[in-house]
Point group: C2
Chain length 173, copies 2
DNA sequence: AAATAATACGTGACAAGTCATATATTTTCT
DNA sequence: AGAAAATATATGACTTGTCACGTATTATTT
């Protein structure tokens, strides 16, 4: 029975190793680790949530934006912002007002308090990016980002197209 | 005012571009796209959820496993499995029984029905991986996985350590 | 101008994931 | 052996994210 247990342990280890090269199965863990580290940094930098930080950052960098713009910049679904923003308004970080020119749109703008929260968090988050730069060179970052670009392109090809034939993705070029 | 709008559009575009090189802010979108594509593939391959698919795969490859083993292989929190498994048992995919040797552990085992669900999904999911291989060479996959390894190492360094000084991560080597 | 289509946003329902805490069982220490 | 520490699992509360659908507003067709 020892051998049975041992072989099982080996099975587990080998399965874990083989999965190391499976990009798809790596992403959840990498992303989860990133989110956790973000949360920890933000905890030390004023207590913003990840969505709040991203939004304040975008508003501080690009000025007043519509919900749609924010979602596009963050490559996120508008519903995520749509739900987060009223809470941020309640906290005094942003104002939201209907666009006079296009009554469908909501213009989101940083308040002084939002700017202050951003100013508190920004240097801490900048240190995080600086720390990453000690682990990856500029060239490597560009290569890494290039891989992510290509992966993202692949991931946006509908499953049906990929299954239809291995030649399918040629169409997207 | 046209200029104002236009400059804003440029701001947005430039912000989006600059964020392209921010690995941290790329991860949510890439992961989300991967999960969505997974879901679509699984939809076409019998209707498993992502967690179910991962679990059936691990059990089919490595034999009966404890919840802890499953979580370790998937690099996920055990609570995720702990919550998903009773539902999978209800669906007839797995059995769960307390380990006689260690009463704390639960041994999860594939049923015939679970095996059948795996056999239905597996070839479809294999095609997905094959399709990826047409976009990334073996060498590139290894490079990509290497980047992910290094990033994951970085992400597991506590925020306090990274903030304490740029030299901190040397300790982990 | 009226009908139709497109767009922006809100919202309900769900999936995946985290953390903290509780409980039962084993292991380890003395 | 008994006390203390470690481990495996369950569970509540929360965040991030998706999709589908509804509603209001604007743009386009005819």
């Amino acid at each position: 029975m020892t051998t049975k247990i041992k072989s099982n342990a080996n099975q587990i280890r080998s399965r874990k190793e083989r999965e190391g090269l499976n990009i798809f199965s790596r992403l959840p863990a990498v992303y989860a680790a990133s989110r956790t580290q973000s949360r920890n940094f933000l905890e030390l930098a004023g207590g913003l949530s990840v969505v709040e930080w991203r939004t304040l950052w975008d508003l501080a960098e690009a000025g007043p934006l519509t919900i749609r713009d924010l979602a596009a910049i963050q490559r996120a679904d508008h519903s995520l912002l749509s739900r987060a923003l009223p809470e941020m308004r309640k906290k005094g970080y942003v104002t939201m007002q209907r666009d006079a020119r296009d009554g469908r749109q909501t213009i989101v703008e940083l308040t002084e308090q939002g700017r202050a929260a951003y100013d508190t968090a920004a240097p801490v988050m900048a240190k995080r990016r600086a720390a990453l730069k000690e682990v990856f060179s500029d060239t490597e970052i560009r290569e890494f980002a290039g891989f992510l670009d290509r992966l993202e392109d692949f991931l946006r090809v509908p499953a049906e197209d990929l299954l239809a034939g291995q030649m399918a993705q040629e169409d997207t070029q």
